[in-house]
Structures are given as structure tokens and as C-alpha cells.
Amino acid sequence: MLLQIHEPGQTPDPHEQDRGIAVGIDLGTTNSVVALAREGKPEVLRDARGEAIVPSLAAYLPGEEDPIVGVMARRVFLDEPEAVVSSVKRLMGRGVEDLKALGGALPYTLAADQPGGMVRLAVGGRVLTPVEVSADILRAMKARAEIATGRRVDRAVITVPAYFDDAARTATRDAARLAGLEVLRLVNEPTAAALAYGLDQGAEGLYAVYDLGGGTFDVSILRLQKGVFQVLATGGDAALGGDDFDHAIADHFLAGRSDIGSAAAQQALATARLAKECLTTQDAGSWWIDVGAERIACALDRPTLEQLIRPLVQRTLEIAQSVIADARLELDEIKGVVLVGGSTRVPLVRRSVEALFGRPPLSDIDPDLVVAMGAALQAEALTVGSDTLLLDVLPLSLGIETMGGLVEKVVERNTPIPVARAQEFTTFQDGQTAMAIHVVQGERETVDGNRSLARFVLSGIPPMVAGAARIAVTFAVDADGLLTVSAREATTGVAAETVVKPSYGLDPDQMAAMLRDSLEHAREDMQRRLLIESRVEAQRVLNALMAALAADRALLSAAEAAVLEAAAAQVTVALGGSDRDRITLAVEDLERASATFAQRRMDAAFNAALSGRRLDAVAETLGAAAPSGIRDPAASPAAPA
């Protein structure tokens, strides 16, 4: 038979065609965009009318099962504003008290019953979490991509604000899972934008990305060098964006009125947004808002607008300066600044950024589309391969609560991810078998000033005298910026169990229930996922054996090699079909058949190592496990267990 051998790491998936495609999605506060990259060329996927932007709005009409997302939801808004959820991204991973802190008339109706954790919205006669609303928007993006490409879409790179904390990132990932999308990676929005720019322009050097979106502000400093996008520092405000401009304008329009319901507040905001957009090109304009039966006339000119939003813009500039200081850089070392996000169209924003950096900012790529394009490039890089590399950082320090409500930092902000840090704890009572640990994220010195991420209870600590137990708790942040915690008692090696109670997330039971209810996770879908996983594993086993045969075939008789090759052929045949059990069984058979071969290879390596060294070196290598009988290096040793 003819055996195919691939370069390690370059194995083409024979079923790549069966798989869905991987897209990049910019899930924005105000607008969302989906894009697909082919051979390094990102393309925004549009609807039949050529529209690239999907407003991040979901309308839930009473009695209707499916929500209405996007432009159509905007129409629903005109008649039934209370049935429409807007700016849901601001609520991801947020609790009720966070919402109150946003202040002003809220364009959301909160559910009467708030069980704690993430906020619940009452809309169209149902109670929804922000995760479910975001999932509905993501479903619409997925559907759009499937219509535009005629292919199934099952994987995505989804962008998040660089300054999103762990709770908001987790909520985003959960929303994607609910929408039936496997998240290849959560990529920070400024990093995605830099990727789109860097590849397009072949830029090198130090760049700043100023990303002012609908609800979030990020600034990242990156070093671009030969296809490596290294984030040096990032910062921002997860609750500062164009929405706040709208709020400032709306407050101006409604000056002094306190009789505003959520419907009128929504309308005032929509009018404010319209006014802001008009004043990007015009000098003045006038609009009206209906409050009940009353119609309020509103006029605004550009100097007044700029006066209203100047404090907000000033705050973004201060953040940008502190991020540059965090990167240990001076302003004049920055070679270029890239503008991202629809709110950078506001003339005052452009002028201010240009004044700060002393150079005109780059905005050749549409600031509304550039993030999705970068995400699409990364989706292609992750699935097809690429020479580019994104090296990102942790945006906010991680810490734990210590005595007196103080915070001890475990991982500092701007540390490159993935990262893992261990911290040791001890007991303060004799025989103590459990302890509670509170994980927070932020830069303040007190717990109150930071975001609460989760509370862990470590149990199963062996009873010892106070202070004797040494519990090493490892905080690991993966390349998505997501935290996991594990714990181990260091003297006994006993793994302490961690029971996680996310402060603002959905607990695993809630998530499981939602997944059950979700149509995307029908049996068929689950089966396909499992099939793909078993194929990837089978291909790995096959590749490993082929490489081993290529290296050490001499260790087998012709008959033995034939048996192995026959078993390998069975795997190859099984891989040609779609029967998961058959693939798994064939792989198990192959693993069994190759056990002797593996043992011989180890023995051969052992003998080779032994004959090449002096006796004392051998004893040292074997360490404590060395059989005491070894005296003569020339004698054939027993194989190590």
C-alpha cells in the first residue's frame, strides 16, 4: 500500500470540505459585522441589498417565537421601542448594580425578579439575559454568512474590547456557544484592527490603535515586526463610547425633564444619535422628540455638540497617554495612530487624536468594518495557517482578596498571555479543611474598587496544624484572556477541589439548560462535532505512527510491519467514512497493535543512550529509580518500567 506522509504540523484535514467555514465577527455595541478571509484577503459579507452593517438590535415581539435582528428591529423600534433591546454589549457580564451605576434614564426594562449574577431584562413578555440577546445577534450574523457564502458556518473568531474583563469575555463566549458557533479565539478589537492594517500596508514599528466604538473605548500600543503583532500595553474604559455622546446630547435635549419613561428615553437617544451623525458633516440642525402627546423641538450646532462631548473625548486622551506611559514609551516614538470604531467619525475626536499624536491618524480602512476584517484574517490564520502571529496581553490585573478587603495582585496588567502564576495560601486554624478565595480584576488596592470575578471554595485540604498546609493556587489565563483556577496542597500533593461561583456569569447549570433549549445544539450538530474531534485524533495517531515507522522501521520484522500497516490502513479507510464508532475502534486497534513497536523504540533509545555514556552518568540519569543491580554498562539492562 502507499502511505502518505506529511510534514509534522502540516497535515491537511481530508474532510476540510465537509467542515463549515470560519468567519470573523465584530459583535459591536451599536453595529455588528461579519467577514470572511480567503488567501489573506478579508471580505465583508453583505446582505442582498449590499449592506455590511447589522445594527446590534434585537426585537422580541409578544407572541412571536423568533426575535427580529438588525435593520428590521430598527423599524419595530419606531412603533414598539419597549420590545427592542439595544446596546446589550454594555450588559455582558454585568449585574444590576453596575447598570444603576451607568446612571440616567436607562433604555432597558429590568425584569422584576433579579436572582443575582448577570442582569435580567424584561422584553416582549419574556425574561432574557444579555447572553441570550447576544446569541440572537450572533445567530443573525451566522445566517448572513451562510447565505452569502452558501456554506455552513460553524466556527468564528469573535472580537471583544481589549478592556473587557473576564466576566464579559466569558459571557461573549457563552453567547457564541448558544448560537452554535465554536469560538476559535476571542481577539481584542484593536489587535484585530492592527492585523487588518498591518497586513494591508506592510507596516513596521510602533503603532497606537484608538478604538472608540458605540459603548467601549480601547487603546492599544502595538509593535509590528515581520508579521508579529506584539501588544505592548492596552487600556480603556469598557463603559465609554458613542452611546455616551448620545446620552449627553439627549440630556441636553430633555434638559431638566424628569417625567421621561423608557420609551421616550429610547427615542431621545435615537434622535441624539441622528443629530450627532448629521453634525459630522453639517454645522447645525434641528429635530423633535415625542414625549407622550407632547412634541419637543431640539436644535443643536457643532460648537454646542463639541462642548457637550468634550469631557468624554478628553477622558479618552488621558487614557491614551497613560497607556503609552504603561508601555514605557514617549508619544513621539509612536509611528502612526489608527482610528477604529464609528465614533471616530466625530470631527472633534479626529482633531483631538491628531493634536495628541502630532500626526494625522490613519483611517483608510472603513472604521466600522476594519475590526471584522481583522477577525476574519485571524479566523483564516487559525484554521488554514498563516505566518502572522498575534501576541496579546492581559488588560486588567488579576488579584485576590486578602485581610481587610485589600487586594493582592497575582498577575499584573499588560502581562503577555497565555500566563500562569501560582500563589501560596495557608490555613489559619488547626484542622482547617476548606478555604474561600475571592478573585477580582482591576487596578485598585481595595476589593470594592475592582470587579468581582468569582468566589472559589477550596475543599479537601488535608487536616494539619494552622499554617502547615501549603495550598498552591494556580491562576491561568489562556490566549482568549479567560481565567481558570486550580489548586493543590503542596506538601501532600492532594488536589483541592475548586467550586466556582462566577459573580456575574451564568453558572454551569444555567448554561447547560440554555444549551439544551437551543436549537443549534440539536443531536445532529453534537454528532458532527464529535465526528470531527475523532477525526482529528485519528489523524494525529496515524501521523505519529507514520513518523515512527519512517524513523525506526528497522526494529520490526517484515511481517510485524505488515500487521501495523494493515491496522493503519483500517484507520485510513474509517477516516474515509463518517462512522465515528468505526474510527474510534480502528484507532484503538492501531494503538494496541503498535504498543510493542513503541516499547522497542524506547528500549533502543535507552540502549543507545546507555552505550554512549559512562557508568556514573548513567546512574545519575536513572536517579533514584536506578535498578541497584546495574554494574556493567555493556550488559543489556532490563527495560525501565
Binding site: P8, V541, R601
Partner: protein, 223 residues
């Protein structure tokens, strides 16, 4: 007593290996044969990514051991390794390969962050040489250094305008640079006692630099 460091726990110097062992004794998890020693991260036969070995930060980056590796050299080595080991390279691979690549990337980042920072690099070199106590040292015992630290703190407290703070910053930078230059010589000469003393002074200067930075920010904000 002067507090030297905010970090109250000893830093984790070593990348922790999640398994494996020496090349000769532990089989590759994937092809189950010898891993070989051609590469620290991949099986020499089947190319599968391995769990990180407990090697030094220098070995992990493929660099010769030493103080203050030129930044471009360090970056080039880091990028080369990151290109091969970053989890993005394993996004569509088996869960175990993803897990090992993450562990490798964690160790690699730890190595890079340690060697990039002169103070951390000096502490690491001393730890490698068996002088780990300095990393835990939290107070200044040397009376000369203590006096210097107290005077600097007083001067910083009395500096009420930006110009005064800038003058202190310039002095701190000059002191730091001379520390780095002498550390370079001491490490090259293998004078560990000398290196330990200068590293202690560098630790204090780093803390002072941070205090100056905060002071300057506060003054700039109130201006």
C-alpha cells in the same frame, strides 16, 4: 525599614513542567517513542508538541546564559519560539496538543518577561547560582543603602513641582544605568557576592523609579 518590593510572595522563576522528564527516559505522548533531544518542545520523530521541560529560561529561548541580552536578540529568539509554540498554531489540533502548546507558551512568556527586565534577570541569574535568598529579601539591611533610600524618599516628598521630580528622575536613571553597567561586569567576572549587593541596590532603585513615576503622574494631573 524601607519596603523593597510590593510583591510579597517569591516569584515563580521556573517554568513548571507538567510531565515529561529527560529525553532519554520519557516517551513522546503521541508516537510513544523516544522524544529525542534535538528540540526542547517537539518530538524529534513525530513532531508532536511536548509538555514543557524544566529547563532554564535561556535554554527555552535558545540563548547563551548571561546578563542583559541585547533586546533585538532576545525579541528575535522569543518571536521564533512563539511562532512555533503559540496556541494559535494549534487551534484546530487535538485537545492535548492545545493544552501542551498553552503550557509551552506560558513557560516561554515567563522566560521572555524575566530576561527582558534587567532586575528580574539579575535575580534569576542569582537564583540559578543558588542564591535565592535575595529574591525574598524585603528590607534593606545595608546601612549605606538604607541611608541613600531614606534621603531619596525625603527628597521625593519635598519635590513639589515637576522640575524637581524630573531632576530626581534623571538621577535615578543615572544611578540605575551605573548599577546595570557594574552588574554586567560582575556577572561576567562571576563575582556573585558583588552582583548580589548591586542587585539589592537595583531593587531599591526600581521601587524608587516607580514612586517617581507615580509622583510625576499626580503632579501632571493636578497641573
Amino acid at each position: 525599614m524601607e519596603q523593597l518590593a510590593d510583591n510579597r510572595s517569591p516569584p515563580a522563576w521556573e517554568g513548571r513542567a507538567t510531565g515529561g522528564g529527560t529525553a532519554a527516559s520519557s516517551p513522546c505522548w503521541s508516537c510513544r517513542g523516544p522524544v529525542g533531544d534535538a528540540d526542547y518542545a517537539f518530538c524529534s520523530t513525530c513532531g508532536a508538541v511536548q509538555p514543557p521541560l524544566p529547563i532554564t529560561h535561556f535554554q527555552r529561548l535558545g540563548l547563551a546564559s548571561g546578563f542583559q541580552i541585547p533586546r533585538d536578540q532576545l525579541d528575535a529568539a522569543y518571536f521564533d519560539q512563539a511562532r512555533r509554540l503559540h496556541p494559535d498554531r494549534f487551534a484546530t489540533r487535538t485537545p492535548r496538543e492545545r493544552q501542551f502548546s498553552q503550557a509551552q507558551a506560558v513557560s516561554l512568556n515567563e522566560a521572555y518577561e524575566t530576561l527582558k527586565d534587567p532586575l528580574r534577570c539579575a535575580l534569576y541569574l542569582l537564583t540559578l547560582a543558588g542564591r535565592s535568598s535575595i529574591a525574598q529579601e524585603r528590607t534593606i539591611r545595608d546601612p549605606t543603602l538604607l541611608m541613600e533610600a531614606m534621603e531619596a524618599r525625603e527628597a521625593l516628598e519635598e519635590a513639589t513641582d515637576l522640575a524637581a521630580v524630573e531632576a530626581l528622575a534623571a538621577r535615578q536613571r543615572a544611578d540605575r544605568d551605573s548599577c546595570l553597567a557594574s552588574l554586567q561586569q560582575l556577572f561576567d567576572a562571576g563575582d556573585l557576592d558583588g552582583a548580589e549587593a548591586v542587585t539589592l541596590r537595583l531593587t531599591y532603585l526600581a521601587k524608587l523609579g516607580e514612586d517617581i513615576r507615580l509622583r510625576r503622574m499626580r503632579l501632571a494631573m493636578s497641573a
